[in-house]
Amino acid sequence: MKKTPYSWDASLIVGINLLIIIVLIGLLAPWISPHDPLKVNLSNRFVFPSWTYPFGTDHLGRCILSRIIYGIRISVAFAFLIMIVTFIISLPIGLITGYWRARANHFFMRLIDGTLAIPDIVLTIAIVGMLGPGFLNMMIAIILVRWASYVRFIRSLVLKICEEDYILSARMSGNTHARIMRRYILPVTFSPLVIFGALDMGKIVLLMAGLSFLGLGAQPPTPEWGAMLRDATAYFQIAPHMMVFPGVAILLFVLACQLISDRFKKLNAADLKEV
């Protein structure tokens, strides 16, 4: 079976463009959104999509389009923040455990493997449950849960790089371990990590939306997509547009992340298998 390289590139281009458009809309939110996302107008409840309200209004008469546009800022910005913090935590751990393959190290990975057997959503919900519902606690929970898979991925990358001959020659020419890690291993991990991060942004946004949907994350009146869907649950029989548009927004963002990482997924899967 031959895969035309063209089709892969096409999905990458579509994904990147989609992501750029979404981020741009989010950045330009104050100029683009037709209304104030938080302005309550009770005489205008459940308006169906029209010229003044392209996506209609919700149960408090707020403009759904404006809320979705401001929602980009919340979902994307905080997903990015979560991802960066998780990288900061897991990069040194992954590097060190990948570089020194000691016995304790093996033990540590077994522990991580074991915790990874528990689905993200279960652990996140449990941690939020203990800390109490709220946006900050949700972020903490996601970081606490996601770091293990980051470590696993980074470690698998490092293990692979360490087999290369140039690492051996770097060692033979008298570099210290710290220097090898910094100068010879870290730069090589960069591009796979970007791809991994792109895919994970989608996952984090989905997780955040799911938790907010359950009422454990973003609280009203925050215009977060999952929280908007939660509002829609009570009214979607009379106002289906309340449910449709936030869902499309989540779908498009996650789809963009998927498309970008699609091209590299095979590589990632092969890497993960070797651990």
Binding site: M1, G114, A117, I118, I125, A126, L131, L251
Partner: protein, 309 residues
């Protein structure tokens, strides 16, 4: 093999120990006094006496170390205390809800398998045609669609608009269709893609060439010769994905008011029912790690090369 099993048991114990320690620390680190939160959650005006009485009852006045030992003792004997809301032992409350969740996860898996078979085989037969492109698109959508949104769309079309299927509760087969589809659809489309690729890769094998040489039609070869071998790797993946079905059921249960573990934990969190939350964490961790280990052991039984580790 015995050594392998022993190692896995040690792993299970270690993970449970880690999780229970984390649970203990998180609840103690969480802002606010648990006794105070508990009292305010019940809408009782908080008096100084009631607070100290409850602190004593929960063992909060003791040192952190002895509290921790108490908690670990509870984990070992599966005593998580009584639910604040129903006053019944947490472990009984949890066990009572397990069958519903298992039923949902199994049906979700069944839906995923059916979709995998139908889409996987048909896209492999018509590889690179329009059907194949549709399959690819569906896999992309299937991996990006939020389950809570999909559940809503299904409810809207099948319950609200047409009234064909019930949208909430558990009981008959009709009640099961929508939640199981919500749970299994996305995974089914993704595995269909894997099955297709696995089948097409198999086409280069010598035994396929032999079948071709005997003059069998392409379709016949794919369905009767290739499928058998190509399905095995996908099947093993489905085994591991049972855990993610169980995880995904939390959200699906909440949408469809399915009386299982997931709906219960979300309700308990909203009521601040801490013993239930603690019990749930330990119980489900045990469940998931056990599933992981059992799957591992089955692989090791099937493939001796894996036993080395």
């Amino acid at each position: 093999m015995i050594l392998f099993c022993l190692k896995r048991m040690v792993q299970l114990i270690l993970v449970i120990f880690l999780v229970s320690t984390l649970t203990f620390l998180l609840l103690r680190l969480a802002p606010g006094d648990p006794a105070y939160i508990l009292l305010t959650a019940h809408d009782v005006p908080v008096s100084e006496d009631a607070l100290t009485a409850l602190q004593k009852e929960l063992g909060l006045s003791e040192s952190l170390g002895s509290q921790y030992i108490q908690w670990i003792k509870g984990v070992v004997t599966w005593q998580f205390g009584a639910s604040y809301v129903s006053k019944e032992p947490v472990i009984e409350e949890l066990l009572r809800r397990v069958p519903a969740t298992l039923e949902l996860a199994m049906s979700g898996l069944a839906v995923a398998v059916i979709i995998t078979l139908i889409i996987g085989i048909s896209t492999a037969i018509y590889a690179n045609g329009w059907l194949d492109m549709t399959g690819r698109l569906m896999a992309l959508l299937g991996s990006s669609i939020p389950s809570f949104w999909l559940g809503f769309l299904l409810i809207y079309f099948f319950s609200v608009q047409n009234g064909w299927l019930p949208s909430m509760g558990r009981g008959t087969l009709q009640h099961l269709i929508l939640p199981a589809t919500t749970l299994g659809l996305g995974m089914g489309t993704i595995y269909a893609r894997l099955l297709r690729t696995s089948m097409l890769e198999m086409l280069n094998q010598p035994f396929i060439k032999a079948a071709k040489a005997r003059g069998l039609s392409n379709r016949r070869i794919l369905v009767f010769h290739v499928f058998k071998h190509a399905f095995l790797p996908v099947m093993t993946l489905l085994g591991t994905s049972f855990a993610s079905m169980l995880g995904g059921s939390i959200i699906v249960e909440s949408i469809f008011s399915w009386p299982g573990l997931g709906k219960y934990i979300v309700e308990s969190i909203n009521m601040r029912d801490y013993p239930v939350i603690q019990g749930y964490v330990i119980f489900t961790s045990f469940l998931f790690v056990s599933i992981h280990i059992v799957v591992d052991m089955i692989y090791a039984l099937l493939d001796p090369r894996l036993r080395v580790h």
